[in-house]
């Protein structure tokens, strides 16, 4: 048996996904190859540990509950001294709520902040509006004329600072024709960020920004 053939069969063998014929082929080889038996033993150890870890029965809804709670709360940014920051955070939360309310009041809710296209999407544009609800910033984003995405790409809306600090408000895909409206959520403290951006992101598992901006807006103009 070639090494490539062995590699193709070993993982599926442990997962119980070989046909009877493939199983006979692999087991026949294992009987005569001690090196491959050692490989099997090592892979089986990892397999058993993964099975054990997966057997916990964690409910899928729990993650959504955790993330929903997180989005409703403001993470601490400083190192240490959390006891001092608990009352400060409470005051800040009130301040953010007031800021959000002020933001909502001081603008016409039918008009949001305009998002201008960057060079790669010169025909695109957008408008974003929002209000603070229960510690969260509920955002309505309307976009149009954005570049066509590949299958494994998406757009992401961010609140951003000059120093690179960012808060993600969520991801979306846009229709090619006409306007696309999406509703997103961010922590209430997002209102303290001076810029808003829409970036084009590869679906590579990296939660950071790609930096490929397609729309930008300036919240300081409010």
């Amino acid at each position: 048996m070639t090494e490539d053939r062995f590699e193709q069969l070993l993982g599926p063998y442990l997962l119980g996904e070989l046909t009877a014929e493939e199983k006979r082929e692999l087991e026949g080889h294992l009987e005569e190859c001690s090196g491959c038996r050692d490989e099997l033993a090592r892979a089986r150890k990892a397999h058993d540990l993964l099975r054990e870890l997966a057997a916990g029965g964690l409910s899928p809804e729990l993650k959504e509950r955790v993330l929903a709670r997180a989005r409703g709360e403001i993470p601490a940014r400083s190192r240490g001294g959390w006891r001092i920051w608990v009352p400060a955070a409470a005051l800040l939360a009130i301040a953010f709520l007031c800021a959000g309310l002020l933001w909502t009041i001081t603008k016409d809710s039918s008009k949001g902040i305009s998002l201008a296209a960057t060079a790669p999407s010169s025909e695109g544009g957008g408008e974003v509006s929002g209000e603070v609800e229960g510690g969260n910033l509920q955002i309505e984003l309307v976009v149009w004329g954005l570049p066509e995405l590949q299958k494994d790409e998406y757009y992401e809306l961010w609140y951003a600072k000059e120093d690179g600090g960012r808060i993600s408000c969520g991801t979306f895909r846009a229709q090619q024709a006409g306007k696309t409206t999406v509703n997103l959520t961010a922590p209430a403290n997002a209102v303290s960020y001076p810029q808003i951006e829409v970036t084009r992101e590869p679906d590579d598992g990296d939660p950071g920004s790609s930096g490929e901006k397609v729309l930008i807006g300036d919240l300081r103009r409010l």
């Binding site: 490539d4 996904e17 870890l53 997180a70 601490a76 960012r166």
Partner: protein, 190 residues
Amino acid sequence: MFGPVVRAVEDEELIRRVAEGDDRALSELYDRYSRPVYATGTRLLGDAHLAEELVQEAFMSIWRAAGSFDPGRASFATWLYRITRNRALDLNRRRQVRPFSAGEEPLRNVSGGPEPEGGVDGWDVARALSRIPEEHREVLTLAYFEGLSQREISRRTGVPLGTIKSRTTAALKRLHRSLVNPAAEESRRD
């Protein structure tokens, strides 16, 4: 045999992003570590419902306190394990305020966690998974945690079935190496 390996984002980079309010980084850390937190909860508290509460409390704690994490003092896994134990103690104290109902037990004294106290446990596996390349972690996550067949993984990822089969084998071997020799795996990342 394989295409370019996509390196995993390290736990410490993710927690830095959490400190900036990035909930996608929190989501990624949840995917990596919720299972050992839950397993620790069921072992310590002996109650599935309380273990789920522990998962929520532990991840909310890291959301709130991410800015206080110091990578010079401990790895992320060690930090989270300490948080998990402390939150489990809190939950147990709260439970003791009311009488035990049938089936409930006081906090169990168990070893484990990311400290080298014994054999391999869920924390070691989660930490080892976070160290291996993204494409390896992806096939293992889809196969073991989402229960997808090799064919389903191929469809989900758009990667040919033969490659998925070989990649699964390679991922299991890589995970084993990461478990038995984490230092070598760390240096391989550099």
